[in-house]
């Protein structure tokens, strides 16, 4: 019953040359006293050069672990990357030494976190933090570094950058701190920006500014972005492709347009029905019943089966695999034909 195009090793049919990142079968687990939590199970995702991949999912779906696994920022113990390949620009990052990985972090791949205060060093001046990368990697002297810092802060829209480089992070608002984080990311001529809920702590008008900034910079420098968010709206408006994650697995993956216009997984549809809409009047929301599964006691088959309105008894028994059921549209659902908006 598996259709052609199904592949355990990453979505086939993508021209590999245009890919900047290709993650194949990544599995990351956390060995806790109470048992092993598989936070990412056989995750295969790719990002094209200059494009944005949106990863959407609720808390505990494994989307942050995915980003951290790419950079090998998993604290070990208890976390272990136990399988898979992470092909970045022609090399498998999982095969690199820690020193080689260190060179890639913060230069070719940079990460922006949800809370900019905890990811900035409170006792370093902003100018010094922004240019840490270029000073180490390009050997800039003090004057050059200062000029670069001013130019970078200007590029991310921070007013009066000449003064700002002398200040400490606590003097900045949340939005401005996130701009500094983005400045650090582009300082090193990053190829891939991992943005993990970059605007979740911000107000809606500031979020709007940061998203606009990220996309403008993407156009200027041509970097790829992985944007992780719990907000379907953010993903819809910023991403070229969307992956929907649940309980550590990718449920659906397709060009943004297809995921939103014609979801082929009941979970994706459930998420879309759960959000109050701004257009027209929603009389009643259709929530997803039940709770996310306990990560220590996942079923053998589909982790969503228990809450799924169209599940059959074999759903909880049959291990899931992403398969291409429509051109370039991948779903892990056994019965995508039952998903109807």
């Amino acid at each position: 019953m598996h259709k052609a195009g199904e592949s355990g090793a990453g979505p086939a049919g993508w021209a590999s040359s245009s890919m900047l990142l290709e993650v194949i079968g990544l599995t990351t687990e956390f060995r806790m006293p109470g048992g092993t939590i598989v936070a990412n199970r056989n995750v295969s995702l790719s990002v094209e050069r200059g494009k944005t991949l949106g990863i959407v999912g609720e808390s505990g779906s494994g989307k942050s672990v995915f980003c951290r696994s790419i950079l090998q920022l998993i604290t070990s113990p208890p976390g272990y990357i136990v399988g898979g390949e992470v092909w970045f620009d022609g090399q498998d990052l999982l095969k690199l030494s820690e020193a080689e990985m260190q060179r890639i972090r913060g230069t070719e791949i940079a990460m922006v976190f949800q809370d900019p205060m905890t990811s900035l060093n409170p006792v370093w001046r902003i100018g010094d933090q922004v240019t840490e990368g270029p000073r180490v990697h390009e050997g800039l002297n003090g004057k050059q570094a200062r000029e670069r810092a001013v130019q970078l802060l200007r590029q991310v829209g921070i007013p009066s950058p000449e003064q700002r480089i002398q200040e400490y992070p606590h003097r900045l608002s949340g939005g401005m701190r996130q701009r500094v984080m983005i400045a650090m990311a582009i300082a090193a001529r990053t190829k891939l920006l991992l943005a993990d809920e970059p605007t979740t702590a911000l107000d809606v008008t500031i979020q709007d500014q940061i998203l606009a900034l990220m996309l403008q910079l993407q156009e200027q420098v041509g970097m790829s972005i992985i944007l992780v968010s719990h907000d379907m709206g953010i993903v819809a408006e910023t991403s070229d492709r969307v992956a929907v994650m649940y309980a550590g697995e990718v449920m659906e993956q397709a060009p943004t347009e297809d995921v939103f216009r014609r979801p082929l997984h009941p979970y994706t549809l459930g998420l879309l029905h759960s959000i109050p809409r701004m257009e027209g009047k929603t009389e009643r929301l259709i929530p997803i019943e039940g709770q996310p599964p306990n990560p220590l006691r996942l079923p053998k088959g589909c982790p969503f089966a228990e809450r799924c309105p169209v599940a059959t008894p074999d759903c909880a028994e049959t291990p899931i695999r992403l398969r291409e059921v429509e051109p370039d549209h991948y779903t892990a659902c056994l019965y995508p034909e039952r998903v109807s908006a």
Binding site: V204, T205, H230, M232, A236, E237, T256, H273, T282
Partner: protein, 335 residues
Amino acid sequence: MTETVLEVHNLSKVFDLPRPFLEAVRMRPAQKLAAVDGVSLKIERRETLGLVGESGCGKTTLGRCIIRLYRPTEGRIVFEGEDITHKSPVEMQPIRRRMQVVFQDPYSSLNPRMTVRQTIIEVLRFHKICSPEEREAHLKNLLDMVGLSYEAANKFPRSFSGGQRQRIGLARSLAVRPTFLVADEPVSALDVSIQAQILNLLADLRAELGLTMLFIAHELSVVKHVSTRVAVMYLGEIVETGTTEEVFEESQHPYTQGLLSALPRPVPVRRHRQAALEGDIPSPLNMPSGCRFHPRCPIAQDICRTQTPPRRQLSQTHQLLCHLRPIPDWSGPTV
């Protein structure tokens, strides 16, 4: 027939900021922060007023003044015909049987050392809601109402997820059979699939119990979904208020319009190239002159920088705080 449940007149809340020790010793006056500044509003029976705004706009402070967790600095609060502005905590006790609050954080608003049964029975006992024999039946009924099983009664908050804790919080608030509920960001901490469950529950309870609600939130889509009327706050003031349709479909204030276009929508259109509103939200310690919104307003004129904007009435329900709107060729009614 309408009956006014809550009336707020010209309410202000000014906080004294903590001073450095030496400043205090020298008896220097504390710096003042006006979190809520001259707010008036009215809520009719069975209405849900949505109060929306970004962080620091004063929406939570306003809510806390209304339920009298804070003492207002100025103005008047009338609840069901009774002036409660200056009531002492003891005098507030019987009134709290009719007005209750649900908080945002379902993790810190429940006592971790009390089981669900203890948490709810305490409320029943304190407010003398029923005889001791009836308590257990009451508890069962409440849990059922918020969609929790009776077995939940023996558990501690730690064994529940965020959504379930919010249900417990709701059961506790409803235990006294209130007529008026202040919900302060009740779903902001929840995942969307759970958020929808709680929003539906709130809608059911409102219909079933005939609740009047003040619903405070920063998510526009949630506010639109639950509210019959909406007030938009910015830096301590209500800048626009009207029916849900008036505020969301016919908004006139540049701030409301900015908020609406800043909101990402789950529709696959690459829209995000230009931000709707520039600039940061100013500090309330350094309030802009004239119209408080002028530094970020895309249409600001000289008058906005110097003069306080007038409050204009566009319809019976639609009010606006702006010099420049409604636009000159506004065809709607102006009072």
